[in-house]
Symmetry: C2
Subunit: 375 residues, 2 copies
């Protein structure tokens, strides 16, 4: 919370205010309280952080949150609503009454609430203070992500084994008498996540030409002799922390093009892993891999390597730091992905993604499952 005080002091702010449900990562991070309905979090300079919840949530907030708990009644909302029936205006007046007249709010603070607050206070958009706090993980947070990644390795192994054990008939992979599909692999993985208190959504299991488009999810029967990209980013339901992992596999015979793409991506990943350390920028890492691919004969524009090298992982699957153009300096405790990929329309795509921690002198990879194309 020291970073909030520092940001307030730099802007002469009286308070830092956050508004949202725990779906909002900034709110969840600061309140350590999970809720469907929005809560107000505020911190006055040098004082204890407070959350304002409904009467109904107060009991649970006292048990779960590390912040001081106030009900909306304590904060005077119902008196305010008596002469200001508009909910947004009344909430703004309640917040200003508690947090003062110069307020810092995060980038994703709701515009209408900021607009109504401007009747009572100067509202200053904060530029990334909470997001920067979130980027440097504590040992507890690293342990939570490690545990999600452990489950992810198991789910990936299960998915790859389904492909490995399939039988090829007329170029299609079969599980017994039925084609092995993207959907079946996705559901099988989700079953494993669920059994371990995690939830995965939008898992990619794409095959063949679809793999040239990194965000196509994939559907239907899987083919032999074609790359299959499996990209999964589950979240622990209890803690809210994500992990993120991708493997590319192929059952049957790979073309020389795919073989070369795979080897190049794997080498690029090892090359990037060797460079990761505190002090290097995400921009530098990304552009080093761009140059690496260029030197190996691959473009990095509308095809080839067309996405960022990586991103932070935490309460959001994509958070700071960015390992891409403009990406800032890495620090010890960042949890990031290292995920080079190559995509050639008409030929296919390859991506390999590990999640790991920036340690004192390198990259502590949390992803352990093997990288082998031909299975």
């Amino acid at each position: 919370m020291y970073a909030l005080d520092q940001a307030m002091s730099e802007q002469d702010a009286t308070g830092f205010v956050v508004f949202g449900s725990s779906e909002n990562a900034n709110t969840r991070y600061l309140t350590r309280f999970t809720t469907t309905d929005p809560v107000v979090f505020f911190k006055k300079a040098g004082e204890t952080a407070t959350i304002i919840v409904s009467q109904m949530e107060a009991e649970r907030a006292l048990r779960e949150s590390s912040a001081r708990v106030m009900t909306r009644a304590d904060a005077g909302l119902f008196e305010i609503l008596a002469d200001e029936p508009d909910r947004w205006k009344a909430t703004a007046r309640m917040i200003a009454g508690q947090a003062g007249t110069t307020l810092l709010v995060p980038s994703d603070f709701p515009f209408l609430l900021a607009h109504e607050l401007q009747a009572f206070a100067r509202v200053i958009p904060d530029r990334g203070t909470i997001e920067s706090m979130r980027a440097v993980k504590t040992a507890d947070e690293i342990s939570l992500i490690t545990s999600v990644q452990g489950v992810t390795d198991r789910a990936m192994e299960h998915a790859v084994n389904l492909i490995r054990r399939s039988k090829i008939k007329s170029g299609i992979l079969y599980r017994g008498t039925v084609p092995l599909t993207s959907e079946f692999i996705r559901t099988s993985m989700e079953r494993i996540f669920m059994a371990h208190g995690c939830h995965s959504q939008d898992t990619i299991v794409s095959c063949g030409r679809d793999t040239a488009y990194p965000h196509i999810r994939g559907e239907g029967p899987l083919s032999a002799n074609e790359p299959i990209v499996i990209d999964v980013f589950p979240k622990s339901i209890e803690s809210g922390y994500f992990s993120d992992m991708t493997r590319t596999v192929l059952k049957g015979e790979a073309t020389p093009e795919i073989m070369d793409m795979y080897k190049t991506v794997k080498d690029a990943q090892a090359y990037a892993a060797g460079m990761i350390r505190p002090g290097i920028t995400g921009d530098e890492l990304h552009h080093s891999v761009v140059r690496y691919f260029n030197e190996r004969g691959y473009p990095c524009n509308k095809e080839g390597f067309i996405h960022n090298l990586g991103h932070g992982v935490g309460l959001e699957v994509h958070e700071l730091p960015s390992l891409g153009p403009g990406g800032g300096i890495l620090a010890e405790g960042n949890v990031i992905t290292n995920e080079p990929g190559l995509y050639l329309p008409g030929i296919g795509g390859v991506r390999l993604e590990n999640t790991g921690v920036v340690t004192g002198n390198g990259f502590g990879c949390l992803t352990h499952y093997e990288e082998e194309l031909i299975i």
Copy 2:
């Protein structure tokens, strides 16, 4: 989309702009595109809606979204980034270049982006246009919610049967040789949801004194002779639509207090269902139930009936219309919950919740599972 044009015309706006990932219900509703990373949606008055996505998402956006698709490159982002490295400022300039100089944005539009847009355009907070569009469901949306509710009825039946078939030993419910726990019921329900492409989170399975606090989730072994509240609000992973349902059950013998609370809540629910129709306000429905409980001898303040009678259900589990103080006029096509409850600390709580459609002349309940306290 006509409502957006109307809102723009009332404010002399040149464009309506939304920014977010599909986690944001307004974005998902307008774009019909699912994505982890934020996209820009804009609509100029009288023109076709457009989404701006990354190059990587373009292929999938063309397949999935009903809007016109532009890439960030098409929208000039990379030229702008060349002399404006700040991502928020550059995005603001890109948006203003496309959508014009007077922009309406939804209440939850990110404040920092609105702030940066103000360098190029007048930014006006819209007051609920998209939220009001979302409140009136199409036949397709009702069918999607009906299908989630169908799964929810099955999961609830399964949960209640686990309790029904348990054995009582020393006041605790047993499943074979182990105590039947909240956690086991939650996981069993989630298994059913998962098998039907749904996902439930924060399901409440509370027992005994905990039931007096409507948002306590519950944990550990369940007791005989005590109310057990099961409140579940799963979402279809494919469509994003929710349903919402609560039952209260008891294995063994109920005290007269709990028996009376149950009967009163059930009667209040039927009373409310009989009043629901287009034209009545959510405020009127809620206060009618408050009066109903008061007349039956129950308070409605810090204990008794301490929450709203209901809320809209759709891409968010809580959306418009509100069936609570200040709640507006109901319209045909609203999908709402009807969920009276009574909570007495030290004694316990009872809640019954159905989801249904406001029809031309009443309430078309989508929840079919029985309401019986003693099982």
